[in-house]
């Protein structure tokens, strides 16, 4: 492969990394979905003791977030970036959730 083609390839999205990205989408996507649903449970209307209806609603939130992350994870340039960015997002979301539980629980 010529050098020129190689530099073009770095910028362009490529299907080769599907497995690493897919795993990031499944695992970290699920983590992010749980953390974001938790943030909604605490900060959304009604708060953490929002009643049985809200408890169900919070659970339902996991599905669209998880599926959404898994769908768009292939936009990351490679697996490493997918894992790092989604890992960072997980840390931030779970960190905030932990802080809320400490501060408000």
């Amino acid at each position: 492969m010529s050098e020129k083609a190689a530099t073009v390839n770095v910028r362009r999205l490529d299907s080769r990394h599907w497995f690493g990205k897919g795993c990031a989408g499944v695992l970290l996507g699920f983590g992010l979905a749980v953390a974001l649903s938790g943030l909604f449970a605490w900060l959304g209307p009604g708060g953490i003791e929002g009643g049985g209806g809200k408890t169900q609603f919070n659970m339902w939130l996991i599905s669209p977030i998880w599926a959404g992350v898994l769908s768009f994870v292939f936009l990351f340039r490679d697996s490493l970036r997918a894992w790092l960015w989604l890992g960072a997002a997980n840390l931030a979301a779970f960190g905030l959730l932990g802080a809320l539980r400490l501060g408000m629980g």
Binding site: R12, L13, D14, S15, W18, V26, V34, A35, S37, G38, A41, W42, G46, I48, E49, G50, G51, G52, G53, K54, T55, Q56, F57, N58, M59, W60, I62, S63, P64, W66, A67, G68, L70, S71, F72, F74, L75, F94, L97, R101, G105
Partner: protein, 540 residues
């Protein structure tokens, strides 16, 4: 809309592979799901007649209930007064005897014989409608629920990814291609247009199905994780209101009086039954029924608590009376089940379900078509093994599901006279036919297999009303219920010419269409010699 070419290319790959992995399971889910929209009429049609005397009027329901409780005190734990007894629920008073698990129970019904004595019968509610529903829920997999359900959830996730990736692929050319249906020589273009039109038009429906199915598969682990991670004091379900106690001078109201009071409080709500649960002297009552103006989270009915001493309904579990969060959640269920708007909406869901099945089928056709080896210099090349295998698999699995369901439905009215474990028989017939059809498709090849299996589908479907026809004379234990079930037979009859028409077109394609295709019978599929390097170079 402009999207970079490399993004489109990546999402094309994603779409193709998630589609290939999940498409056939989704076909089964959608075909069985379309049929299960009418599970109640199907169950009614399929349930053999009861030997009980005709139900006493609702004014005598409590007399019957007392008689049942005197003889079968354990019925107090769960019994119901049926307002409008039907073929599948043929008694005024029914009760449940618990089995090993919460969902495993035996139903009994009672009536008064002509001499006034108590009659009791184990209810023989037909299991075949449940089989179709289970096929739908477990995407046709022959495994235990604990194994098949997570697989279904994974398929639902892949299905969501397929929807998003498909949308990304078509967005740039959406305006140009949306209204185009280029029927003509370019078969791939035609199937692509059909596939895109189906996908775009029904995208909201499919998003609802994918996202709700993820929840239906994984709600228990979702709750378990949230309980650990999100909530400080366990899942907040709100207070469970204790069963009401009778006030001074209040007694349990008779069923007909309860009915009058409920109807006065809930105009438009058709009451199906009253359910009573007695536990340590405490009586809990609930009312089930349906107001077709509102969708429900149960597939076919709604249910809410009721004070058995005053008839006062606690409406907070009823659609239209719920608090906002519950109403939102109710909407998610209702959009999946199509439980709003009555039969017209159910027929629309049948159409959407069949269109969904077609979406997955055309997806597989496109995969095969894009791997076609075309005629070159008058030489017809052998088709790739991958295309031949997927052709056989697509034909065998989809038509195997169609024929299997028709065959097991056709057996419905003959089995109760011959066999004991009806559920096992229905399941056995379905899977025997299904696997035989898949094997047949591989033996005969996609083209011939499709033609022959479509004719078999027509025949199996034609046999469905045969049991009802025999029921006119009661041959072999068959039956008909007065005024119920005709629609099932009529629908089956209407499907027969559709299968024959499809078979006709498949055969025409096989004999007259391009010979350089897995859908042709002109050229015997030679043993795949493997593509020569030269060929690969040319095809690129």
């Amino acid at each position: 809309m402009k999207i970079r070419n490399d993004v489109i290319k990546v999402y094309k790959d994603v779409h193709i592979w998630v589609g290939i992995v999940s498409g056939l399971m989704l076909f089964i889910a959608f075909y069985a799901g379309a049929i299960t929209m009418f599970e109640k009429p199907l169950e009614r049609w399929a349930t053999p007649p009861s030997a009980l005397a005709p139900p006493p009027p609702i004014e005598r329901a409590d007399e019957l209930r007392e008689a049942v409780l005197a003889r079968h005190p354990q019925a107090a734990k769960f019994h119901a007064v049926v307002v409008q007894p039907t073929a599948e629920m043929p008694a005024r008073v029914v009760w449940r005897e618990p089995g090993k698990t919460r969902r495993d129970f035996t139903e009994y019904g009672a009536s008064f014989a002509a001499d006034g004595s108590l009659q009791v019968e184990k209810l023989a509610r037909a299991p075949v409608a449940q089989l179709v529903d289970t096929l739908h829920q477990l995407v046709g997999l022959p495994f235990a629920d604990a194994v098949a359900r997570p697989i279904m959830g994974a398929v639902a996730l892949l299905y969501a990814v397929a929807l998003v990736s498909g949308l990304i692929i078509v967005l740039p050319t959406l305006v140009k291609d949306f209204f185009a249906l280029r029927l003509g020589k370019n078969i791939k273009r035609m199937w692509m247009d059909v596939h895109n039109a189906l996908g775009i038009v029904s995208l909201p429906f499919h998003l609802v199905m994918a996202l709700t199915s993820v929840v239906f598969a994984f709600h228990t682990p979702f709750y378990a994780v949230q309980e650990k991670v999100v909530y400080p004091h366990g899942l907040p379900w709100g207070q469970h209101e204790p069963a009401p106690l009778p006030g001074p001078g209040e007694y349990r109201l008779p069923a007909d009086e309860l009915l009058r009071r409920v109807e006065a409080q809930l105009p438009g709500f058709e009451v199906y039954s009253f359910i009573f649960r007695e536990d340590h002297g405490q009586l809990e009552a609930s009312v089930t029924g349906l107001d077709v103006r509102y969708g429900t989270r149960g597939r076919t009915y709604a249910s809410t608590h009721l004070n058995p001493y005053t008839g006062e309904v606690d409406p907070h579990d009823l659609p239209g009376h719920m608090e906002p969060w519950s109403a939102a959640v109710n909407t998610f269920f209702m959009l999946h089940f199509g439980s709003y708007g009555g039969d017209a909406m159910r027929w629309l869901y049948v159409a959407m379900g069949l269109a969904g099945a077609m979406l997955f089928y055309t997806g597989n056709l496109l995969w095969i078509e894009s791997r076609r080896r075309k005629r070159r210099d008058g030489v017809i090349p052998g088709q790739k093994r991958s295309a031949r295998v997927l052709g056989c698999l697509t034909v065998g699995v989809s038509l195997g599901c169609v024929i299997g369901i028709s065959a097991t439905l056709a057996a419905t009215k003959w089995l109760p006279g011959q066999a004991d474990d009806l559920a096992a028989w229905h399941e056995g017939i379905y899977y025997a036919v299904f696997f035989a059809a898949v094997a047949w498709a591989f033996v005969r090849g996609a083209a011939r297999g499709a033609d022959e299996l479509l004719r078999l589908a027509a025949l199996a479907t034609l046999l469905i009303p045969l049991g009802s026809l025999a029921g006119i004379w009661g041959i072999g234990g068959t039956w008909n219920h007065h005024g119920a079930g005709f629609a099932v037979d009529a629908t089956a009859l209407a499907a027969v010419p559709v299968f024959l028409l499809l078979a006709h077109h498949t055969r025409k394609r096989m004999l007259e269409g391009h010979a350089d295709s897995v859908w042709s019978a002109k050229h015997e599929p030679a043993v795949d010699p493997g593509a020569s390097p030269q060929e690969v170079a040319v095809s690129k």
